[in-house]
Symmetry: none
DNA sequence: GCAAGTATTAGGGTATGCCCTAATTTTCGC
DNA sequence: GCGAAAATTAGGGCATACCCTAATACTTGC
């Protein structure tokens, strides 16, 4: 039996939830809170498995509630219910330690799936939520792109040599691994130095790590 | 009709894809590439809607391919196929502009769904992928601070030498700047190598940057 | 304060890295 | 295809980094 605590200040919504969940054999609503501060009760927390947590509470945000609860009791699982699918909200919720985030316009069936998933310790997110996050990641990077320093073009062979240098191989060892002469390796190394504007190995490694290639 | 280009160096895998997709009425495989560089062909790109792109190509990474293609032709959609679900991979792929990322162990049905979704301009990610990203977001914030590895204790003088090494100074130059003999600098450098478990300058710089000190 | 440990200093010898030059092969634009 | 440009190959010569050992100064615990 999955024991549930609902935390939401909209009584009508809470009643709707109770009705929906009453049809599930394995789910039992143990308690309801209409304010954030009511939740911080050790005995209460020990009796329940999952908290269905609203983000917009009258006295504090659901994010603060989530953080504080997980400091008090690591066993309880938190499933956030929210009307908002803005990226900033979602990432904050994820950082707070909640295991799931579903939108309030989610259907009965999906809500039950989310509850059972979170109850088992796994994570659950509405499709719209994952889309928001994924799109956010994609856009962030597009904006971040144009800053990109002009990476000098390293040839295939030079890249191989560079990788082996970064792995602490000596030129001799690199020559052996790539089946070329010591002198050739030194030439590649030299070209890398000039392409990356480095004076020696130290600069080479530093530039390589700054630009990307590790 | 969704016109597809497959880019993957594993011929067996490509043939498997062809077989699977041949059963779909609305999907047509127009061309196959077994190397990244074959893809950069304007005429080819104009004929197709979606690229099914492998990440591990012999000559370059799928991420590079994705970036270059989207610079050439904004209309083409990219769906990445990969065996890896590591977070770093996925975020790189998202940044590259690809619209979807599915694992190679995905079933036929899901693959077809992914193709149709991406063809319509929307994004699609395997469930495992979204889980990885979500877990990554959740853990990032928790880990952020406490990671800090046990930094071997570097002495004041060694630190000075290390800083100058990182600034591409030779031992001779360091000796001049610190008013000590060349031989002393070499000794400090030697001790740094052993304290940081490095074999040479390359390892020294790498470890130094990984640990903190830049 | 004194002994034990560590930091800083340094030398001799060898391996390695770096610069200049240059031939051959591969790639690329037209 | 063909010619130019770039990549890959390599040698000689010198500077630099790395290894071993070891003396002197500087901390630190008791």
């Amino acid at each position: 039996m999955i024991k549930i605590l609902i935390v939401d200040d909209h009584k009508m919504f809470v009643e709707g939830l109770e009705f929906i969940l009453s049809k599930e054999e394995d789910i039992e609503i143990v308690h309801r809170c209409y304010e954030g501060k009511e939740v911080f009760n050790k005995e209460l927390l020990e009796k329940i498995d999952i908290i269905l947590l609203d983000i917009n509470l009258p006295d504090m945000t659901g994010i603060e509630v989530s953080e504080r609860i997980l400091k008090m009791n690591q066993n309880v699982k938190i499933l956030v219910l929210s009307m908002h699918d803005e990226e900033s909200y979602i990432t904050e919720v994820l950082k707070s330690g909640a295991l799931g985030y579903v939108l309030k316009n989610t259907g009965r069936k999906e809500l039950v799936t989310a509850i059972r998933t979170v109850a088992s310790g796994r994570t659950y997110f509405s499709e719209a939520i994952t889309n928001t996050i994924m799109n956010g990641l994609m856009n962030n990077s597009k904006k971040a792109k144009p800053i990109e320093k002009d990476v000098p073009k390293i040839t295939r062979r030079e890249k191989e040599v560079l990788d082996l240098i970064l792995d602490e191989n000596t030129n001799q060892e690199i020559a052996g691994k790539l089946f070329i002469s010591l002198k050739t390796v030194e030439a590649h190394r030299s070209n890398l130095l000039s392409k990356l504007n480095a004076r020696n190995t130290a600069g080479l490694v530093k530039k390589a790590m700054e630009l990307n290639l590790v």
